[in-house]
């Protein structure tokens, strides 16, 4: 489970090439990435989204970032230091190479039609890649490499900058990008603020940031970063260590007031985030603490959802018509029971095998629920509809904001339970088992009991999430319980940091919240997940908000 246990002394070392060859390789890689980006249809889709009104679209930013990244990598020498002329020459060469790749694509698309094979190679893509120049003209072909070279040099210079200013620039740029991308959220917040009467017209245009506002944000972000660095340098390190706690508090406050200051859509997204947090905390016990890879996790979610559906529906399939508050504990208990039932047989299966076994179990449940054989009881592909909304003190919780607070309250309870469990005897037993099962057993930990407990508790949390899901959607269908849900939860944990509770929150926001807010790019969502999983393992395997034990381990290593 840990990311640094050596099993074999054999290690593949990277072959080094001549510096210019490496630079060309870097440029070509960026070029291929850009071509891939264009040919999967992402360029055309994201070209409609303006980050800075009438100036920069999202896809232009993506392309520019690829060229800049190529220049940044190429600008450094083998020790990773930027040096003199290298930043300019190699940066330019890498950027030029990337631009040439895209130009070649443009030329190819102009001369033969690729549409029969590649559906995204459309005239729209040709037009978008020509950047306003006449289609098929020399200008359209030449300007891309030229722009690439320019951006490559910028990337190289960026690498050569003192790190302080580099960070400041990154902050400023990120501020612009975030504000431009999530324009709708910010506009809804600005509209809800009573006193500032309509400044949103000045900051945001109909599509994105206005130019002036973008410039202000860029400078403000940069200044914020510089000032904070100064502040951090002056105060003592012990206080700085507390900054992660302060960050957590800030995050929690934001989470609490979010639906109050925005619109229903954002509240609904926030509710989904809370729901996935519930599931994430469940899987965190299984995978993050006990190290059991579970790809059939969605089955427990389904058990919880179907329990509530059957008990609270006023439809024909209902077995009882009780309130949500009666059905919720039943759902949790049933899901826990299912977890125990699943856990028992797969206890002796380890690692990759466990992933496959649980995946098989999860798929069996889905196929069974979907089948005609169980349709008289579970509704088959028609699902169960007309589930009553939960009521509290006679008020029906129907609005997204109300349901969000319900999900959030449950998530809070579960987070508290998880936190206490993690630091209890059983939590330490899980960690020990995750690191080395044989040693843990030798130390007197009962692997069967502790694994089974991890399974049961994890399943119970997922069951609670399923119960809320059924109540908030008002209907359940088998297609809501696909393997993708399990993968989502797994990705949340990996991105946030395995075994880390705040990591679950961060992961859920990044992987559930952001894609929901960027609905228009929904078809690239899972592509983004895949890339995020791979990139995370390469760049920051411990996650965005690593667990404290992991941090300590890394410090020692």
């Amino acid at each position: 489970m840990s990311f640094n246990a050596v099993t074999s002394s054999f290690k593949v070392t990277r072959r080094r090439r001549a510096p210019l060859a490496e630079t060309l390789q870097v440029g070509a890689l960026a070029g291929f990435a850009a071509i891939g980006f264009a040919l999967i249809g992402a360029y055309v889709a994201m070209d409609k989204r303006h980050v800075v009104e009438d100036t920069l679209t999202l896809s232009q930013i993506a392309f520019a970032l690829m060229a800049i990244a190529a220049g940044y990598v190429a600008g450094r020498d083998r020790q990773g230091r930027p040096s003199g002329t290298r930043v300019v020459v190699h940066g330019a060469v890498a950027g030029l190479m990337a631009g040439l790749c895209v130009s070649a694509l443009l030329l190819l698309m102009g001369s033969i039609s690729l549409r029969a094979t590649l559906v995204a190679a459309s005239p729209m893509l040709i037009k978008a890649l020509s950047l306003g120049a006449p289609i098929g003209s020399l200008q359209a072909l030449v300007q891309l490499p030229a722009l690439g070279a320019l951006l490559g040099v910028i990337g190289g210079l960026f690498a050569a900058m003192p790190s302080r200013y580099r960070r400041a620039l990154t902050y400023g740029f990120a501020a612009v990008l975030i504000a431009g991308l999530f324009r709708d959220v910010f506009v809804s917040v600005l509209e809800n603020l009573p006193d500032l009467n309509g400044p949103d017209w000045e900051v945001f245009g109909p599509g994105g940031l206005n130019r002036g506002a973008a410039l202000v944000l860029l400078v403000a972000g940069g200044l914020f970063c510089l000032l904070r660095d100064r502040w951090n340098a002056r105060i003592d390190p012990a206080r700085r260590a507390r900054s992660s706690k302060a960050g957590l508090v800030l995050l929690l406050v934001g989470v609490l007031v979010l639906p109050l200051v925005t619109n229903d859509f954002v509240a609904q997204v926030a509710m989904l985030v809370a729901l996935y947090m519930l599931m994430g905390m469940g899987l965190n016990i299984e995978l993050g603490l006990a190290g059991l890879v579970d790809l059939g996790f969605v089955a427990f979610f389904a058990v919880g959802a179907y329990t509530v559906a059957l008990m609270c529906s006023s439809g024909p399939l209902a077995v009882a018509d009780v309130s949500f508050w009666v059905a919720l504990p039943v759902a949790v208990v049933l899901a826990a029971g299912a977890g125990m039932l699943f856990g028992l047989p797969v206890l002796r299966v380890r690692g990759d095998y466990l992933a496959m076994a649980t995946l098989g179990l999860g798929e069996i449940i889905r196929v069974l629920v979907l089948s005609d054989a169980l349709a008289p009881y579970l509704g088959g592909s028609q699902g169960i509809i007309e589930i009553d909304h939960p009521r509290i003190f006679g008020i029906s919780l129907q609005s997204p904001a109300a349901l969000y607070y319900l999900a959030l309250a449950l998530a809070g309870v579960v987070a508290f339970i998880s936190w206490r469990l993690q630091h209890a005897r059983i939590g330490r037993a899980w960690l020990a088992m995750r690191e080395d099962e044989d040693v843990a057993q030798a130390l007197g930990i009962d692997p069967v009991a502790s694994k089974l407990l991890a399974y049961t508790i994890g399943a119970a949390f997922a069951g609670a999430a399923g119960a809320v899901f059924a109540a908030l959607v008002g209907s359940v269908y088998p297609h809501s319980f696909q393997l993708l849900v399990s993968i989502n939860v797994l990705a949340i944990l990996v991105i946030g940091g395995l075994g880390s509770l705040p990591g679950v929150l961060v992961g859920a926001i990044v992987l559930i919240g952001l894609p929901e807010l960027l609905r228009e790019f929904g078809e690239f969502r899972y592509l983004f997940y895949g890339i995020a999983l791979v990139a995370m393992m390469h760049v920051r395997a411990e996650g965005l908000w690593p667990a404290t034990t992991q941090t300590k381990e890394n410090a020692r290593a």
């Binding site: 094979t117 992933a355 496959m356 098989g360 179990l361 798929e363 069996i364 069974l368 089948s371 895949g530």
Partner: protein
Amino acid sequence: MSEVPRSATEPGAFSEWLRRSTWVDHVLLAIRISVAALVLVGLAGGLTAGTYSAADFVSFTMFGLTIGSIYALIALGYTMVYGILRMINFAHGDVMMIGSFAGLFAAGALNDAGLVNALPLLALPLVLAAGMAGGAAMSLIIERIAYRPFLHVRSLAPLICAIGMSFVLQYAARGLFGTRNRAYPGFGWMEGTVSLFGLIVPIPQIVAFIAALIVLAGLLALVKLSPLGKAMRAVAEDRDAAALVGINVGAVIVATFAIGGAMAGVAGVLYALVFKQITVFMGFALGVKGFAAAILGGIGNLGGALLGGLVLGLAEALGPALVLEGFGLPAPYQLKDVIGYGMLVMILIFRPQGLLGERLASKRA
């Protein structure tokens, strides 16, 4: 199982087992017995129900052997990579999908040249070669991204990377090739059916079965007879020792991925030959089935992959008619996947070494 096997005739064997076993063993035993009982009851019911004629069962068997040979080809990739790295290539099913699409484009080009309809026996090997090339190339990229950087550590990283790659492949392919189903062109006379021992069998099934057997034989020869095969077996045995005697371990791993990917590419093309339609999402389910076949035969064992594939194919083809029909379930064919996944889970739990495997079990799976 850690207990020493004893002969059943020895007095007290049962009480000894009772003394040594825990309650988990009892539950597992109960699961075994109930699954066996369920299958037997279903079998009895299915055989007496008489819904299907003997001819039906023979054609189910034929179909099972065809799909089974495709499973076997996929299983080979899993088994070879597992044998060498002790890791599962989670994205292997999607490699098959890529191979299938590579074959589709080759077939499209050959069809434009009029070759597919006129000379199917010439076109098919070319299409298969394209599928192999596509699968092998994809497999190499996966090795480079998801496995090579993590070779020297034991961690979850390769598994998670491979899951990520699986998603990247599926959704990139969706963006590139579109969501609609794609159909292979008709392969001339291979489209028809042939009367075999009084049975009507579609020719693609026979062609796919034979092609799969030829490719499998070639692979077995490669692994058993060639120097590369010898090196692969050595690396599978002990990576460090292999490196010490001068084997280029990195190159062997690369070759293994390439060969496994090529086999998956063949499987993708043959699948398309039999089922005609392919989609970018077909890799996942077939990948899991291929993995089940690899486990069933004993992972790391090439002959086992063939056996496992055929057994799984037969179980899926015959199971709904033989066993599920016995319970009087409506639409038993919807539950065909339950049989496949169920066998996977059962084997993982009760006989992780598979039908032919002997080692592993205690080795960290």
